[in-house]
Subunit: 693 residues, 2 copies
């Protein structure tokens, strides 16, 4: 679809939006370069320049352009809107936007919205002790870390689920668009219910280059590009301009057209039916737009050379310094800020009441409602004595999760995610309470598909993880169940989320969000029928390297301990909980009271499994963590008791792996004294562990 | 493009291809079910059935259909063709195909192409001590492990690079197509040079379901599907049939049309120019095709219920046993095999001389030519004394890699892969010898783009890794350079490759392939300007968990040691070499002779850094591994020597991390005696290490 010709903005509106964009651009370039003299009150001198210039200019003016236009649309249409910036290396844009909207000062009162604050804003950027050059949890309004590329659209959809009035504008960079996770994410529209979910407005930003190369989507023929997004199920609007005035008109038309179409789709779906073809924008602008056109005789604006710092030797090279000053003055800061550095009324006019930088969805803890949980003891299996009965742990958990869905149905704030493994992982009881989200055609043989289903299944661990992260970051709850071996697919995503949690926990204004609950089943010890490909318990090692404050690993040995662990994890906040549990019928060891006590302690002696009379002074300690290792240790203990009746055996089981770390290293760590009380100081310990040594 | 109507196969050809397909289907179902009575010489009895039924039928008949048709095309057009099977959980298809072609017996003489061998083939499948249910290195003709989904198309393109006469037929499952890596892989056509590379023929197999759900691509409107692949740059041919005879005609037409189009594109490109739009096939057939239509009153063929074992209780349930026998007999085995179980001439007629199961590209070691390497000493930086000069390690390595490209240019068997980071990682000297592969439009401002470039840059670590794996598995060489933090994106791919190497090293008929060389730079210690997102040294931990025989980790402390390590890695086979090295100018410690000796030892005392007179009896050992930790330890040693001149210091540097493992655990491990000689038995050791503790 081509955006209609004709004007959209009158001269006033055009002037205003251009001023806002120039203000963002000025504040962005200032962050990259200036240590002092923020308003250019005097001619630039080398000592005004940062000694080390580090930041990414290339994508920034395009992001600023989008942010300005989204603000205009919020004002014009009274929208509940938040953003996700895929090219998050353009950190200056997000910091500038939050500062200009006043939200930055609300979060960091020291950084005032005046000349002093502007100096602070500039200085702190990419500076020791300051803020990173990428979008990070430090930015009010963002739920998306800008370091590793590929997850913006998945986060955006996660944020839109169950928020029917929200529009999540998601800028996708053309570099990021080459990644696998992003390429798969376009299909997330097949899982977005126009009735109960909000909308995602993807804005594919083709600025043509990644670090040093052209991008694929910017160079394929336009008809292929159009076919591609048509094929992905979108109706693209194109904005292809380098002249700012024309670009403003075209972008305003495109955004208005998208907003109208989103409303039309939602109204139609909410009053009847119809398969949506969601709108999106393809924005083609020069990389490093409005920056230096040429430097040292080489083209910079519109090429990959503008990716980072277009003028690199400003302190040493007077010509570069002069060029920087011309560039900065080209934004006419004197029109944008008053003498005290406060944004002029014309600029402030584009700050909507519903600021994206203060949208509560982007600080999800503000909206988070604790999950209503059933009493997990209700699902407990009776255990007359250890090892006398068997149950399938995840199957029993499935019944509990079903009731979690039911108890929270009216709040629509809990979902279950899995790469088409929910049934295989024996959590199928949830289908008694809800369906699997699905917007496409259905056949009579299909089961459990529903437009508003709360189980999200796509054969992409990346999307499951990204959706769940977006859902949690906007204040909701969820569980991602996955085969243990294949969770490595999202190693790097879990890394990034753990870093997000680590940083955001230090920020008082960011409220706690629900924990990321990863249920790993179909684990390494039960893969007889699959190839060698399905075996890898290394994810535990991967997460335990992360910051101890945010990581928990649980290895419940049986069904009742799994229930207790799950209950605990679903209540927790700001953590990554890894639960490793089997799905096949296996022996029950603890009744529910014992399980509760054992989980509360995290580690404990199982007197009934050892030689009871000798618990104070064992000859050997047999320890175990994980369901299959526990079974093996108990079998070994049984054999030893029969064949070596004089041997004094102690069996120790570990549910909470972090109990094994020293108390100084992890909040769950055991004190040395406690450790010695369990494992003795001088007796041999045989440890059967689920994972790698 | 729609395939033209009309017949393609005459009655004889149709009979022959159907017989071949039936033979593959019979052999596939046999593998899943039968312990004995392979030819159904007597009525099926429960004891003929395996006690545990484990395997995936659903995708298998479709794979068999494709394999039969590819064989026909090889015969008809004398093609050099190999396959990659994305839905590799359909292992029975690949085993059946290799057995029927005689290649299985060549690799495993005990499994003869007769009734005895057929019994063996059936028994071993998914059986303790046998072969896995997924396609694995055990299968002659495969380069692709069938466990974790998503990498088939990347492997196929990797195999096609620099093999101008090869066609790599790649079946992409509709489940796999939902993964991120696969969604991005379609764009690999932008990097395939029709002049110097071979062709990839993607066959998207829409059988409609993954494990328990419909698939996205099978359910979107057909015009969207067509637009999507048009947008990806392909010209799809559709085969949508469930009637076998009509399906054979349609598939034969589609394959012939693709082969003709591939030849047209290649001829045109090789004699002139023209941007190719490569053909592909979209094959829509029922899941579990030709299997039981209904079981216990529920539809199975054509639904997700056929994903694994359609009839689950054959031993216990006489009706199921009867239904299985009917199903197996529906393939009319008596027409396909003689009384001794040997394939009848009509079946053997579809085995081409150029068997895919014996294609040497699929056992790349057969074709591997050792890389011609320059004398790395030529690139060494002069080191008058330790710490007196500085060099940028990867920049110097870049010059060496440039000459590796040049020395092997005529063999076209070496490529450099990176997610748009080759220049950023300071390997830019390679552009003096070759360009960056790129088939799309170019602009005057572009640099180093070339249709036949040997540097592969796409912003997808998944594609870089997958391409390189495919390239190595078909007998070539390469290096993948990546930011250290982001290599976690391919954790699970490196896992799978390490498993492939582990298994294939046990198979005498699989010849050694070049090692997977991962150069991790822009590492954790030099990320001042980036956000917290860029920091994670955990990949080392991830790989050291793998099988010790296949994993090496090198932490060269300076430029000359990096050269020596790189030279060693480029010569090695069947390993995963992880090299962590800096890109920024840093101190040189060792001249090239010292570097060579140090690297040969992998670990050693640096006498000049400690207190030389006291090397035999130090008070403390300062050890280091990694460039920045080495710098820090040397600085610490310097301070200590000044302030505590009486302290006897020893400095130990580790290049080869595996030297630190016990000799019994890793082939590079130090014997206890050697370890004690370096670290003493009783003195404190301070270890500065690059990664996590």
């Amino acid at each position: 679809m081509t955006v209609q010709q004709g004007q959209r903005l009158n001269q006033d509106e055009l002037t205003r939006i251009d001023a806002y964009w120039r203000a963002l651009n000025y504040l962005s370039a200032g962050q990259i370069y200036l240590l002092d003299n923020p308003l250019l009150a005097e001619p630039l001198r080398p000592e005004h320049i940062k000694p080390r210039l580090l930041g990414h200019w290339g994508t920034t003016p395009g992001l600023n352009f989008v942010l300005a236009h989204l603000n205009r649309a919020i004002l014009a249409h009274d929208l509940d809107m938040m953003y996700v910036l895929g090219p998050g290396h353009g950190g200056p844009a997000a910091f500038a936007h939050a500062w200009l909207e006043g939200s930055y000062t609300e979060a960091y009162p020291g950084v005032t919205r005046d000349a002093d604050g502007m100096r602070q804003l500039f200085r702190q950027f990419s500076f020791p002790g300051g803020v990173p050059s990428h979008v990070s949890p430090d930015v009010p309004g963002s739920i998306h870390e800008g370091g590793e590329l590929g997850y913006s659209l998945a986060h955006a959809f996660g944020a839109a689920f169950d928020n029917p009035d929200l529009i999540v504008a998601c800028v996708v960079g053309d570099g990021e668009a080459e990644t696998g996770p992003l390429a798969a994410s376009w299909h997330a529209n097949k899982f977005l219910d126009p009735v109960h979910d909000g909308a995602v407005l993807p804005i594919l930003h083709l600025n043509g280059y990644k670090i040093a190369n052209p991008t694929v989507l910017a160079r394929i023929p336009e008809e292929e590009l159009d076919a591609l997004f048509h094929g992905y199920g979108y109706a693209p609007r194109y904005v292809t301009e380098s002249d700012p005035a024309r670009a403003h008109q075209a972008m305003a038309r495109a955004v208005d057209s998208c907003v109208a179409e989103i409303r039309r789709i939602q109204t139609e779906a909410r009053t009847g039916n119809g398969r949506p073809r969601w709108p999106m924008i393809v924005l083609r602008t020069p990389k490093g737009w409005t920056g230096p056109a040429e430097v040292d005789g080489k083209p910079v604006e519109g090429t990959w050379r503008s990716h980072q710092v277009p003028l690199a030797n400003v302190r040493e090279n007077p010509a570069h310094l002069r060029q920087l000053e011309e560039w900065l003055r080209s934004y006419r800061p004197e029109e944008l800020f008053d003498a005290d550095g406060r944004p002029q009324p014309a600029v402030r006019a584009l700050v909507p009441a519903r600021r994206m930088s203060a949208n509560p969805h982007a600080n999800g803890g503000l909206l988070r409602r604790p999950l209503r949980l059933p009493d997990y003891r209700r699902y407990a299996v009776p255990v007359a004595k250890p090892g006398a009965s068997r149950a399938a742990p995840t199957q029993v958990l499935g019944a509990m999760l079903r009731d979690v869905v039911r108890l929270n149905a009216r709040y629509r704030n809990f979902r279950v995610f899995g790469p088409d493994e929910t049934e295989s992982n024996r959590l199928g009881a949830v289908y008694e309470a809800t369906g699997k989200a699905w917007q496409e055609a259905t056949l009579p043989t299909d089961e459990h598909l529903a437009r508003d289903g709360r189980v999200m299944e796509i054969l992409s661990e990346h999307l499951c993880e990204g959706w769940l992260e977006g859902y949690l970051l906007t204040g909701r709850h969820g569980v991602f169940s996955c085969y243990e071996a294949f969770i490595h697919i999202v190693d790097s995503m879990v890394n990034q989320h753990s870093k997000w949690l680590k940083v955001s926990r230090r920020l008082a204004w960011r409220r706690p969000i629900s924990s990321l609950n990863l249920l790993l089943t179909s684990h390494v010890w039960r893969q007889d029928h699959n190839g060698f490909s399905h075996q890898d318990p290394g994810f535990i090692d991967h997460v335990v390297n992360k910051w101890p404050e945010v990581v928990r690993v649980y290895l419940p040995p049986d069904t009742n301990t799994l229930l207790s662990v799950a209950d605990h994890c679903l209540r927790s906040t700001d953590l990554i909980n890894v639960i490793v549990a089997g799905k096949n019928p296996s022996f029950d060891w603890l009744d529910v009271e014992q399980a509760e006590l054992h989980c509360a302690r995290g580690i404990g002696i199982w007197p009934w499994a050892g030689t009871p009379e000798d618990q104070t002074e064992p000859d050997v300690v047999l320890a175990c963590a994980g369901d299959v290792p526990t079974l093996e240790v108990l079998a070994a203990a049984d054999i030893l008791r029969q064949h070596l009746p004089d041997l004094r055996l102690r069996v120790v089981n570990v549910v909470d792996l972090m109990r094994l770390r020293p108390a100084g290293e992890h909040p769950h760590g055991l004190a040395d004294r406690e450790f010695d009380a369990l494992f003795t100081t001088d007796k041999p310990v045989v440890f059967a562990y689920h994972g790698y040594p």
